[in-house]
């Protein structure tokens, strides 16, 4: 069984079983592959290098759209323009956090610096956002419904399995954020 993250002398520490690490790693890899910008043959390499992507479109996949939302509520044109300037960098920021978390999964005990913890919290959040889209969590009621799935012996189809995985990621993120908040208190 995983142990909740806690804040102490060594920083923020946690422990995950090998199977849990494997699960998290595959979830993280899935999100990374969703965020990987597609390479286009005629792409301007200089523009790509400085983070511009003039051919970018609003993502069609709901989950990707939630990870990379429009910056304006009622102005698709301005949002798209903003996307051209920022989306590639945002994808890279997210992939960076996800990769950093995946690297920490190589060890049995997880010991995180403040920076590492921030990467982990971002990575877990993105994993949960993607799972929530797959589970069709649209409101609090849906979330409550999913939350009821706590017993692994109930896992009999893909949806119930995903719900259990989501709840595990939620529990893990909550324990991590509590430890991070504690570390903020201590520093203040």
């Amino acid at each position: 069984m995983a142990k909740a993250f806690k804040y102490g002398l060594k920083g923020i520490t946690g422990f995950l079983e090998p199977a849990e690490r494997e699960l998290l790693r595959s979830l993280i890899d899935d999100v990374i592959s969703m965020l990987q910008p597609e390479e286009r043959a005629n792409q301007d390499p200089l523009a790509a290098m400085i983070g511009l992507d003039m051919d970018v479109q609003e993502p069609t996949d709901r989950a990707v759209r939630r990870l990379l939302p429009n910056v304006m509520k009622n102005d698709d044109g301005a949002s798209l323009e903003f996307r051209q300037l920022t989306e590639r960098s945002l994808r890279e920021t997210k992939i960076g956090a996800l990769r950093a978390a995946a690297l920490d999964l190589d060890k049995d005990d997880i010991v995180l610096t403040a920076e590492g913890a921030r990467h982990w919290s971002m990575a877990l959040n993105d994993v949960r956002l993607v799972l929530a889209e797959r589970l069709d969590i649209r409101d609090e009621e849906d979330a409550e419904h999913v939350h009821l799935m706590q017993d692994w012996s109930q896992a009999e189809d893909v949806e119930s399995y995903l719900a259990l995985v989501y709840n595990f990621a939620t529990w893990l993120q909550e324990s991590l954020v509590q430890a991070m908040l504690q570390s903020l208190d201590t520093r203040a």
């Binding site: 920022t86 945002l90 959040n125 903020l184």
Partner: protein, 127 residues
């Protein structure tokens, strides 16, 4: 624009005071913009508060108050500034996975004057 630096809380201060307005002649410098955070049923309340504290440097009580406003009212204006400033914040919020948008401030400073939108969104967060 190097957007990855937008994640560091300490990079914000310098830009607030400096030479911001001169870079974009299309935007009048004195039109205030709002950064809006929207509620969703996935983000943890603790995480949202952590982001407000660590990124904006808000106190715990201010961060929690804003977080509860997002939770109960469906949205909250969490920062003001020039268009460039709130856009930078928005990218940072998206980096954290929060659902953020920018909008022109329509009322007085600090006023809860935003458009009523997104009412179809869920009200709760997992806690």
């Amino acid at each position: 624009m190097t957007l990855s630096v937008a994640l560091g809380p300490d990079t914000q201060e310098g830009t607030r005071t400096g030479t911001e307005a001169s870079t974009d002649s299309l935007t009048a410098p004195d039109i205030p913009w709002n950064l809006v955070i929207w509620n969703d049923p996935v983000n943890l309340m603790s995480y949202v508060s952590y982001v407000f504290q660590s990124y904006f440097g808000y106190t715990e009580s201010k961060a929690n108050k804003l977080m509860m406003e997002v939770h109960k009212k469906g949205r909250s204006i969490v920062a003001h500034g020039s268009k460039e400033q709130v856009e930078r914040h928005a990218v940072a919020m998206h980096g954290f996975g929060l659902w953020a948008t920018v909008e022109k401030a329509t009322g007085g400073p600090g006023g809860n004057s935003g458009k009523q939108g997104g009412s179809g969104q869920g009200k709760g967060k997992r806690g």
